[in-house]
């Protein structure tokens, strides 16, 4: 399972020594890095060959890994206590306060509003898809890597074709994940299918990864009778019970406290699974973000809060959204372990989510991941983002920082992918999609009775009465009603 790879000659002992020597004066960033993830990653043995040879059989078993994580976690928490209070002169005088001892200080100083430097962003691949020297990451097999890449491409093509279908008026709305393909696919790839997803809306790649078919996507967007949501919601509001993917709801951030409740239930049932709840940078401003994180921390619920910080919430830039160093620093305020990761680096996302999952599931705790990325497309088909942001910025992220190209370079450099496969894949996905759209378009809409079902488990008398009345109206005025909805 956990097959951690390390591409440097540092050893765990070295790492620990270095950390301990730093004492407790390190910045917030240093400390959060020491906990959880980096400890999990840096428990490695030296691996000499930088680029090609990965450890395929895990030389340390999960128990050692976890035991080590626990040790490091506790260490980090102690550091945190000391960091937040003080270790100065009168530390023999301390206040026994609910929640733990607080030492006194005679020095009047405020905790700074920010640390001196921004929390660094974990990455594995550089912009060209080359492994960065001295990086540590979780290896992915050829099979997984190729599936990841193929899914990223499928997601791109799906976005292009559905977007076009909206422009042609065939579906009423669409929203792309362009620029966030690595987040979508790599985070999904690092989970098990028992892990439960509470999406925001820009994560259809998670469903794609889990096997939701292009036909199923198309059926939802066309709101036909094959749509699991029975045509009731706008396009892109997917949901699939069999894929453990809760149905998307447009109101922002509402899923976060729900995620804590679902995770708590998993814990009570002793399931070896966690919840992953996605949220945008904008979504973190909602009250539900606070509620979700705080509940998860207090209830010790195994949930990963995955924040896609893509720089924009419709036209609102992150500088108008919050004045903290992004999202990652908010985790600590709730007592949640957090990491910032390059969201355009599939390997970094994969590694971070794998580590987060291990901690969430084995230690019953929430983890916060902030993935830095960029919304390359317009917010949705209702938006024109050139009204509020520079074209240069879009082009830069689309080309220079393209997550799909970056991952492709890495996959290709391993000899796992060829130009020919690329062409074949693109042609075949495009063809499947066009077919799926045609089928979805021709498929009947859900019957009228579905308007009244599912409001409750069973329709109460007012709905029965309204349905009867509506049917009478339809028979009087048939031309008022669409003919493709069976009455």
């Amino acid at each position: 399972m956990a097959n951690w790879c390390r591409i440097s000659s540092r050893t765990i002992a070295n790492h620990m020594r270095k950390r301990m020597n730093q004492g407790f004066i390190g910045s917030a960033a240093d400390i959060s890095q020491t906990s959880g993830l980096s400890s999990a990653l840096n428990n490695g043995r030296p691996v000499s060959d930088r680029n090609r040879r990965y450890q395929t059989s895990s030389p340390w078993n999960r128990a050692t890994l976890l035991c080590f994580q626990r040790f490091k976690s506790t260490e980090a928490e102690k550091q945190q206590d000391s960091f937040l209070s003080s270790d100065s002169d009168d530390d023999h005088q301390s206040l026994d306060f609910p929640g733990g001892k607080v030492s006194y200080t005679s020095e009047m100083s405020f905790i700074s509003e920010s640390s001196q430097s921004r929390v660094p962003c974990y990455r594995v691949l550089d912009d060209d898809g080359e492994l960065i020297t001295d990086t540590s990451f979780q290896q992915v097999s050829k099979e997984v890597a190729v599936k990841m890449y193929s899914n990223m491409v499928s997601l791109q093509i799906m976005d292009t074709i559905f977007y076009e279908a909206q422009r042609q008026g065939r579906i009423s709305f669409y929203l792309t994940s362009a620029g966030e393909e690595a987040i979508n696919i790599a985070s999904a790839a690092a989970l098990t299918e028992q892990d439960i997803i509470l999406p925001q809306y820009r994560e259809p790649g998670v469903l794609l990864w889990r096997g939701f078919t292009l036909q199923e996507f198309a059926d939802q967007c066309f709101g036909n009778k094959a749509d699991y949501g029975k045509g009731r919601q706008m396009p892109i509001h997917y949901g699939s019970k069999k894929h453990n993917f809760f149905t998307i709801s447009s109101p922002i951030a509402t899923q976060l406290p729900q995620a804590a409740g679902i995770a708590y239930s998993l814990k009570m049932d002793n399931k070896k699974a966690c919840v992953v709840s996605y949220i945008g940078d904008g979504g973190t401003s909602e009250g539900d973000f606070h509620a979700g994180l705080n509940f998860a921390a207090v209830m010790e619920a195994p949930v990963i809060f995955f924040c896609r910080n893509n720089g924009w919430a419709i036209s609102t830039n992150v500088s108008e959204q919050f004045r903290s160093d992004g999202i990652v620093v908010k985790g600590r305020a709730y007592g949640i372990r957090s990491i910032r990761v390059d969201g355009n680096d599939a390997l970094a996302v994969y590694t971070a989510v794998s580590a987060a999952r291990e901690m969430a599931v084995n230690e019953n705790r929430p983890i916060l991941i902030e993935a830095l990325t960029y919304r390359v497309g317009h917010h949705s088909t209702s938006d024109d983002s050139t009204k509020y942001r520079k074209l240069d910025e879009i082009v830069y992220w689309k080309n220079t920082r393209n997550p799909v190209n970056r991952f492709r370079n890495w996959v290709q450099s391993n000899g796992w992918w060829s130009e020919q496969q690329e062409t074949q894949l693109r042609n075949s996905v495009r063809k499947q999609l066009l077919e799926a759209i045609q089928v979805a378009e021709k498929t009947e809409k859900p019957p009228l009775s579905e308007m009244f079902s599912d409001v409750y488990d069973y329709p109460p008398s007012n709905l029965e009465e309204q349905e009867k009345h509506l049917r009478e109206t339809i028979s009087r005025h048939p031309s008022d009603y669409p003919t493709d909805i069976p009455v």
Partner: protein
């Protein structure tokens, strides 16, 4: 016919059916008036509010670049970022902040991006804004607060871009709820709301933002709150509505007239505190009343009007009060044409009531 054609057709219906209703009967002085759409009328009102009061502020999600419905276009450029600004994505924050601003004697004009997203701010509106004056014995008030939010169906909005939540707010003493039917009404009513010394929730019919075009005076004018308007005279039945629904009701009135039924159509405009007298006077004349709104019928504001009219005009009523409203389901995407209180549903109810 495929649904998209129907959606298209509904837009067609919308275009015809939701054309602006004349504001002829209100006493807006003529002068320079240009034909503009509803979002531009809102924009003009906001501009005048900012221009005439240096303590006026306009804010909400994405308002800086003009807002997702373009209502705040140009305002940030003209009045600066300190007075017209984006807020973080947090409705409770927007309203709470607005209450604070208003409590200090400012005019806080807050935008909620969609009425469907007003619920995170429910507590701030229901427990805070509405009771600010009462609970302090009138030491404090947040009367300068106006909350604007686009509401109602658009043909493709599904659950969360279609709702008409006005009834929730009509259950809250201490706030006013106002809904305009056309561009000219929107400008005059919004200016009244902004300048009213009470917190107001102002719902804008988003279906009409672009569709409704009407001559709107360029100058600063206000239309009175809590005054309903008889926009069509008739003797056989009184129809009461507000916002976008009025244009549908008007079509029904026109068709009913072909059958010799003369409907009186009333735009309530202010839902609380509402103008019972105008409605009562009309019902006393016609002996029949029909109320229509997009929100689900159960617990809708139509129920309140119905009860009040029965209380006041029981002996005069010649038929039960009729309600043609949205159904008691969440707002459904593909079933929207079935859900809506359409012209023919209204027409059927008019005839049934008149022939009772």
């Amino acid at each position: 016919m495929a649904l998209r054609n129907i959606l298209g057709k509904r837009f067609g219906v919308g275009l015809a059916g939701r054309r602006p209703l004349s504001t002829a009967t209100c006493d807006v002085e003529s002068g320079n008036a240009k034909a503009i759409n509803l979002y531009s009328a809102i924009n003009q009102a906001l501009l005048i509010a900012l221009e005439t009061d240096p303590r006026a502020f306009v804010f909400g999600e994405d308002v800086s670049f003009g807002g997702v419905f373009r209502c705040t276009t140009g305002l940030a450029d003209r009045f600066g970022k300190a007075r017209v600004f984006n807020t973080p994505l947090c409705e409770q924050g927007i309203v709470g902040f607005g209450i604070g601003l208003a409590a200090m004697g400012n005019r806080a004009i807050a935008e909620i991006q969609f009425a469907d997203y007003i619920y995170p701010a429910f507590d701030q509106i229901v427990n805070e804004a509405s009771k600010f004056r009462y609970r302090s014995g009138n030491q404090f008030n947040c009367g300068g607060l106006t909350i604007r939010a686009p509401y109602g169906a658009v043909g493709h909005g599904g659950h969360y871009h279609s709702q008409s939540p006005e009834a929730f707010f009509c259950h809250v003493p201490g706030i006013k709820v106002v809904i305009p039917r056309s561009p000219r009404q929107a400008k005059g009513l919004l200016l009244s709301c902004i300048r009213d010394p009470n917190p107001v929730v102002f719902f804008e019919p988003k279906w009409l933002y672009r569709l409704a075009v009407e001559e709107v005076p360029e100058h600063d004018y206000m239309l009175p709150l809590s005054e309903a308007e008889v926009i069509r005279q008739g003797s056989d039945i009184t129809l009461v509505g507000w916002g976008a629904q009025l244009s549908i009701m008007e079509q029904a009135c026109i068709e009913a007239e072909r059958d010799g039924i003369f409907c009186e159509l009333i735009d309530l405009k202010t839902l609380i505190p509402w103008d019972k007298e105008t409605v009562e006077a009309s019902v006393r004349k016609t002996g029949r009343v029909l109320i229509s709104h997009e929100a689900p019928v159960t617990g809708g504001f139509g129920a309140e009007i119905s009860a009040s009219i029965v209380e006041r005009c029981f002996l005069r009523l010649e038929a039960p009060v009729a309600r043609v409203c949205g159904l008691d389901t969440p707002f459904p995407l593909v079933f929207e044409p079935f859900y809506m209180p359409t012209k023919n549903k209204i027409l059927d109810a008019i005839k049934a009531t008149v022939n009772y």
